[in-house]
């Protein structure tokens, strides 16, 4: 159960309340990082509500929007504070596909759960994936694809990651992703629902 009023407000999608509280807390000297933590707890609760069927994608997107608006205020103030991340995750929509709705929701939930997410955007080449995995030494890479016609480029990317000698775990997600696709492209995990990503990340990073 949430007890912090700010966490409750963002979990309940109270846009104006959240904006007001962030301002008030900053004015009264609360550390920006502490405010971010409160927001993240509320976002995690929104994720839980999605999982139990209370929330749908519309609610998750709204929650992400409120978080984003808050971060515009908070981010410049965070410089210098030591945010502690659970780990680095590289994520992107694979080459040939420009859909990012699903990816963005997963990014938001992962960030909300305390991960440092390196979002490469859409239409991402295998070279870019490999470069980012190396640079951030990421134990997990997430790949998103909506169109079945672009699933092959997911396979090419995973093959290239393996050929580069990287043993980073690969998580795939998208509307037409199932076990058949997972086996074909050679991924380690596949996600069907938005909140699966966080569960799988927690499993990998707690090991």
């Amino acid at each position: 159960m949430l007890t912090d009023a700010l966490s409750i407000a963002i979990a309940d999608l109270e846009e104006e309340q959240v904006a007001g509280m962030v301002k008030e807390r900053l004015a009264s000297g609360v550390a920006p990082l502490e405010i971010v933590n409160s927001l993240q707890m509320g976002m995690a609760e929104a994720g839980n509500r999605f999982e139990t069927g209370e929330y749908f994608l519309g609610e998750l997107i709204m929650c992400g929007e409120i978080m984003q608006d808050s971060m515009i205020v908070l981010e410049p103030l965070l410089i210098g504070s030591n945010a502690e991340y659970k780990g680095n995750i590289v994520i992107g929509t694979v080459k040939g596909d420009i859909h990012d709705l699903g990816k963005n929701i997963v990014v938001m939930l992962l960030k909300g759960s305390g991960y440092n997410v390196i979002d490469l955007g859409v239409d991402v080449s295998k070279e870019k994936f490999i470069e980012a995995i190396k640079e951030y030494n990421a134990p997990l890479v997430g790949m998103s694809v909506l169109l079945t016609g672009c699933q092959e480029s997911m396979k090419e990317t995973i093959d290239a990651i393996r050929a580069a000698g990287l043993d980073t775990k690969v998580l795939i997600g998208g509307n037409y992703i199932d076990d058949l696709v997972k086996a074909h492209v050679g991924a380690d995990y596949s996600a069907q629902a938005a909140t699966d990503g966080v569960k799988i990340a927690d499993e990998i990073f707690s090991a």
Binding site: L13, Y55, F56, G58, G149, N175, Y176
Partner: protein, 390 residues
Amino acid sequence: MSEKQMLYQKRLERYITAMDCGKPDMVPVAFGVGEWIAKYTGTTLQEIYYDLDKSNSIVSEMLPGLDFDIFKGGPSLWWPPMFDAMGSKLYKFPGIGVEENSTFQFNEQEYMKPEDYDEFIASPTEWLVNHYLPNISTELENPGSYRSTVALIKGAAAFAMQGGIMAQAYGKWTMDHGIVGQGTGFTKAPFDTLGDALRGMKGVLLDLRRRPEKVLAACEAITPHNVNCGLAGAGADTRFPCFAPLHRGAYPFLNPNQWNNFYWPSLKATIEGLWARGKRMLFYAEGDWTPYLDKIAELPDKSIIFQIDTTDAKKAKEILGGRFCLQGGVPTTLLTYGTPAKIKEHIKRTIDELACDGGFILDAGGVVMGDAKQENVIAMIEAAREYGVY
């Protein structure tokens, strides 16, 4: 009557009987030549998209060996020259914006802003001409200018040219191969018009919280246009359904309350408006629509053909079967990752479960893209004939 004409009549009857929930002599099979054909013909997707004659001749070469009933069209969904003439920002086409063998992509943006709602609601088409076209096309940025006028003429000419070429091709395929086209006309759910084309997914989802009354008013304003669109584009034909690709109503974008209050009423009104004029809708339910089947069952009997993509097929049969024709049954991923043997096995089971008492058309669940294997697609048609006799 020639042999091909007789074949056409037989297939037409099969299709119409199934649409009316009856039991024809065999399960009708729907088939389209998708982008997958490119890799078997030594052509790039860019050529197939831009060169309609080439694309149509590939179809003409393919058809003679295949026995199916309902034709869903050739490999290119759009003819890019029309979009190019207007400098359209809406799509990236093979070779322009994406690689020559990558499929087209819709570039979704907030082409309509929150502050545009009132003007749009007051007169949707006027707003589209004055603001939407300039927003989505570099060549139409200054309405009334020389450049804009010429681009508009070129775009309209290209649209008419494409229509002419395709009508001719369909005529030839019907005469030469006795196939029946799936539909005539095109429309959308009003909420999708708003959420796909105008405000974008994120925009419309946020609007549902920030300005719900505007969303409702906009959907209401769009409804009569979408009824007209389904009929007018079909030249008032009512034998065949109009195609309606449905998007934002798929689970789990909207919560049940939003679905019931924002997505469904205007779509239902569109379907009822069409049905009152004798026009059926191919309710192309992309994704999963399982939670909404009970609401869909409120529609007038036979007013739609319900397309099963990732919706629970057994539930669809249980809730909609007998009152609405169902179409689908073959998961699109199976056409890519399966084998002909697996597909045959799947089709035998599907026909047992879904086709038993009629009102069923066998088809791939969703849009079959460039990844499908030709041998699997052909195995689907063959298995349908093998197991599909009533």
